[in-house]
Symmetry: C2
Subunit: 239 residues, 2 copies
Amino acid sequence: MHLFISNDTTAPYATLLPDDSRHCVRVLRMTVGDELWVTSGDGTLCRARLANPHPDSCEVEIVERLTDYQPRPFHLHIAVAPTKNNARLEWFVEKAVEIGVDRITPVICDHSERTTLKTERLDKLALSAMKQSLKATRPIIDQPMKLLDFLKTLNPQSSILNPQRFVCYCSGHERNTLRQLYTPGTDALVLIGPEGDFSDREIATAIQSGFQPVTLGNSRLRTETAALYATTVLNFMNI
Amino acid sequence: MHLFISNDTTAPYATLLPDDSRHCVRVLRMTVGDELWVTSGDGTLCRARLANPHPDSCEVEIVERLTDYQPRPFHLHIAVAPTKNNARLEWFVEKAVEIGVDRITPVICDHSERTTLKTERLDKLALSAMKQSLKATRPIIDQPMKLLDFLKTLNPQSSILNPQRFVCYCSGHERNTLRQLYTPGTDALVLIGPEGDFSDREIATAIQSGFQPVTLGNSRLRTETAALYATTVLNFMNI
């Protein structure tokens, strides 16, 4: 059964977003009485029936509400440097949402070649990935911010316990793996650097902010690959 | 230091592939005496010096040979149905090579919409991902074949022990996770189905061929996402 998005599913009737309305009526050719899933991305999955198949503002009647649908066992926040090639970050967002992520913050680093980023498209990709993988919780895509400013926003007290904070980088001394450091069931915040890696001051500041250096293995991974690797492994350790 | 490809690195001198020659001389503007890495993808990484910076057939002198460079702790073979959208399979190949895979077999399934596939481009992507992630072993990309024909090529005797065989599908009864079933250090062969999932006869035949049904978690993953998820998790369990 298809999943559609509405801005509000709290009333007995909900209106699908214009794109979803078009897809429902024009592409899938659904008609009055057809059953479908609808969510606003707030964690509630609603079973609904098509009431008014309008191609721009399709109205559905909500039959059943599944609150807190498939709750995630932990909160995963990935802070990742935007890639030179935008498509690579977009790809990461799609895949991360499919596998499971709660929040993505694009962080501009000292060695970032890209210093600006439009998040509208990332939001759209996250939404369609959420629909594709039948999830009812919409991940947060933050506006980009400088890494050092991002680190300032974090509470130093919570650094060791929850969320566990990890910084992945290539250069430098021996580091532990996520298996050695991460405690399943704990929330996690992971920092992934740009093509040119983090600067020394960024790594030092992250460690001062309670981030533990981790290695993702021997392979030299691209930024978006490292970000998805961490997303996959942390989800895997929680099933 | 950059890694370049040559068809043969056994002699004292090696010639880079035309694309690599161009990149070395025209893009990176390397000159006589500059150091670089070169491999033929046979597992040996060679330290070399640029001897003749010809833009089409760049000649290098091999200074040092690192045989069996970064050997993988297990052999990973992924048999995956080609995606409707070719770019998605291409993306999987690039990422899988970065993270670590030894062999990829495109398998045409009963529910595959795509029944033909050109592997030249996949080979090229695998090669550039190998260079990007500084690996010296070139993964094998097989020509596509029908899944049931592929299963016939497998030795039934080796089914339980090595490689361990896993089939991932959405439909049906309770399955175990890779963590429950996979023994680190063991070679692995993983089957990933098409958008429409495997047919019942394909699942039955796979299980008869010694494949254990596994679940990759609650999320409904796209074909290429499931394939990379399995690749990531099995590599992670081996570090």
